[in-house]
């Protein structure tokens, strides 16, 4: 008993000594970025793309900015908001990170929002796309997109291009409802008519009955938003049911024809028109270099999530440059506001008022280029703000 007490005392002393030894070593010359991404689970492709893009960026630009070494700490939340919150807490409290970043889905970004506010550190959202996110904390900045951006644009485009009757098929969750409402708003304002509206459950095994209903409603086009992974299933059944032959087109925000999966969808997807922020076929030299470097490093094509991650880490670098390496959260956020740069997707900037991204939205059609399927851009809407907010 006595011995044990002595032992525990020495242990405590040793622990304190080692802590004291570690503390000075944790110098101020590194900047830590806590990256929270879904690396497992149904959204894992998102996480993988963002992680790859960040690795690529750091290989290209080096890992030191303004005299500070950038250190990335990756945590997997499997897109489950509870896990996101725990991961964010650990990163902020234990690892003392200077940024939290990533966030594959809207609930994850929202779960971390109060923590960013409390800790006064920037939260860089690199994927989640619901409008409200940036309103939940003054420390949130977004480099991905909002669904309102692409959905309103495709609505406008559709009415102007002879599509009068549309049936909608959207997944029944926040981003799906955002996509649907913003599309409807602009499409009906322009004189279009929504003849059929179907919300599919998020865990949807079989699109057949919904598609049959679409077919019988005889619209000019179907407006579709399903989470990236389900796009392939949807397109296959769309073709199986002969909707393509019945002359019913597919339109929507670009999630359904994500570059990540597009090439495996088969020829049924040809001719699908979507509005989105990025296509791997974007014709700029910068994008060609980006796609080539990404393909070389990871063996597949970058999608819009990869670009959002690439721009997210770029924004972190630029903010640090501007503050001269100062990691004060308020200063970093100030430095991020109004940043403008050329991204592989085209010119983008951070809106100083909403801290949300302003970017070009492109209208694209799926075509075959060198035997592979690509979204080929044919019209551009420049500098689109998030219409979910500007309306207020």
């Amino acid at each position: 008993m006595f011995e044990r007490k002595i032992f525990s005392r020495t242990a405590v002393a040793a622990a304190i000594a080692s802590l004291a030894a570690v503390a000075p070593a944790k110098a101020e010359d590194s900047v830590k970025v806590g990256l929270i991404l879904p690396m497992t689970g149904g959204q894992a492709s998102t996480g993988k793309q963002i992680e790859n893009a960040i690795k690529l960026y750091m290989q290209q630009k080096g890992d030191t900015v303004a005299g500070k070494k950038i250190e990335i700490i990756l945590k997997d939340d499997a897109a489950i908001p509870d896990k996101t919150k725990t991961a964010a807490q650990e990163l902020i409290v234990n690892d003392k990170v200077n940024f939290i970043a990533g966030f594959g889905v809207t609930p994850a970004a929202l779960a971390a929002a109060p923590l960013a506010t409390q800790a006064k550190i920037p939260e860089v959202v690199m994927a989640a796309g619901t409008s409200i996110i940036t309103e939940r904390s003054p420390y949130i900045v977004r480099t991905s997109f909002t669904l309102a951006q692409s959905s309103t644009i495709i609505g406008d485009w559709a009415v102007k291009n002879g599509i009068k009757k549309v049936a909608t098929l959207t997944s029944d969750y926040a981003p799906g409802n955002d996509a649907l409402n913003f599309f409807k708003q602009n499409f009906t304002a322009g004189g279009g008519e929504v003849v059929e509206e179907v919300k599919t459950p998020l865990a949807n095994p079989d699109f057949a009955p919904f598609l049959q209903r679409m077919k019988d409603a005889k619209p000019d086009a179907i407006f579709v938003f399903v989470p990236a992974g389900q796009g392939g299933n949807f397109m296959k059944q769309y073709a199986e049911r002969g909707l393509d032959k019945a002359g019913i087109k597919v339109i929507g925000p670009g999630d359904v024809t994500d570059d990540d999966l597009l090439n495996n969808m088969g020829d049924a997807v040809l001719g699908t028109v979507t509005a989105h922020l990025y296509s791997a076929a974007h014709p700029s030299q910068m994008n060609k270099d980006f796609v080539a470097a990404y393909k070389k490093a990871f063996g597949n094509r970058p999608g819009f999530m990869a670009v959002s991650g690439y721009d997210g880490i770029h924004l972190i670098y630029e903010a640090l440059k501007k503050t001269g390496g100062d990691t004060n959260g308020d200063k970093l956020i100030e430095a991020m506001k109004g940043q403008k740069w050329e991204s592989p997707r085209g010119p983008i900037s951070i809106d100083p008022e909403t801290r949300d991204i302003v970017q070009n939205i492109y209208i694209r059609k799926v075509e075959k280029v060198d035997g592979e399927l690509y979204n080929v851009e044919f019209a551009t809407f420049e500098a689109v703000k998030d219409l979910g907010k500007t309306k207020k």
């Binding site: 179907v198 949807n204 073709a239 990540d260």
Partner: protein
């Protein structure tokens, strides 16, 4: 009218698919009285085997299907001999905990090996698209499912009712002790049955990739559907789950078509109503053992 027929056709195909996926579970649960929540993992294994053979190694689809069956059955028999048989005599809670753990392990393993994105099996052109039969749209792939599953069901029913193996199995289930006293090798019969159920699941997994989608979460996503089929159908025969699958398949498709707002819930409503009306399932034995 044609809309009704098209829906009926889609519903039957969906129901048949459910049946092939779930009937192995009905066998283990009903005949062997073992709760195997890892059933979907065997289905997934079959699906992935088929995918690898067809997409990566260039096998024809119809040659890969039997292999999906064989490989799942082989995995089934190995696991049955090494793990499952120790749990036959344990409580249902132990069985549930064990098999759900196995399910999570299979999810993680497939995620690790094949990645988490959804995979598709490249189909021959002959199975793609729809043709018109008196104005009713018939999907070729779905027609193939109906044919394959229909033949399987008839075969299964014949084996169970008419063959010596069928009667041995029924005897082993009804009273294992008396059966072994009569010289029936009960563990062997069970192992074989278990493997066969797993094989059917593997075949179902391969067939369902096109319609339900195949990814590492398959066993968890569809567990609930398998369980609904077994609870509604009762687990004392093959006919029960078969009719239950058809009913649920048609109900689900029709529900989604005619009342899309309520659609996803129709299958659960049907289950609740049926279970209130007949707590042991449509064809359950009323006098419990």
């Amino acid at each position: 009218m044609t809309a009704i027929l098209t829906n009926l056709f889609d519903g039957v195909a969906y129901g048949m698919l459910l049946f092939v996926l779930a009937c192995g579970l009905a066998v283990t649960l009903g005949l062997m009285n073992f709760v195997n929540l890892a059933h979907g993992a065997f289905a997934m294994a079959g699906g992935y085997v088929c995918m690898v053979l067809v997409n990566r190694m260039g096998w024809p689809f119809f040659a890969a299907l039997p292999l999906a069956f064989v490989s799942s059955a082989a995995i089934g028999i190995v696991l049955e001999r090494t793990l499952y048989r120790h749990l036959y005599a344990r409580s249902h809670l132990d069985q549930v905990l064990f098999t759900i753990g196995l399910t999570f392990m299979s999810v993680a393993a497939v995620d690790y090996i094949q990645g988490s994105s959804r995979v598709f099996i490249n189909l021959p052109a002959a199975l793609q698209g729809q043709f018109d039969l008196f104005g009713v749209g018939i999907g070729r792939y779905r027609l193939m499912i109906i044919v394959i599953c229909g033949l399987l069901t008839i075969g299964l029913q014949l084996v169970l009712a008419k063959t010596r193996f069928g009667s041995r199995l029924r005897a082993a289930v009804d009273d294992p002790r008396a059966a072994s006293g009569l010289g029936i090798n009960v563990p062997q019969v069970f192992a074989f049955t278990f493997a066969f159920g797993c094989g059917l699941a593997g075949l179902g997994g391969a067939l369902s990739a096109e319609i339900l989608g195949l990814d590492p979460y398959f066993p968890l996503k569809f567990m609930i559907y398998f369980l609904i089929v077994v609870t509604v159908g009762g687990s004392s025969s093959i006919t029960g789950p078969f009719l239950a699958s058809l009913l649920l398949g048609i109900g689900d498709v029709a529900g989604k078509y005619y009342v899309p707002k309520m659609g996803p819930f129709v299958i659960y409503t049907m289950m609740i109503v049926i279970l209130i009306w007949r707590p042991n399932g449509l064809f359950g034995r009323t006098a419990a053992r």
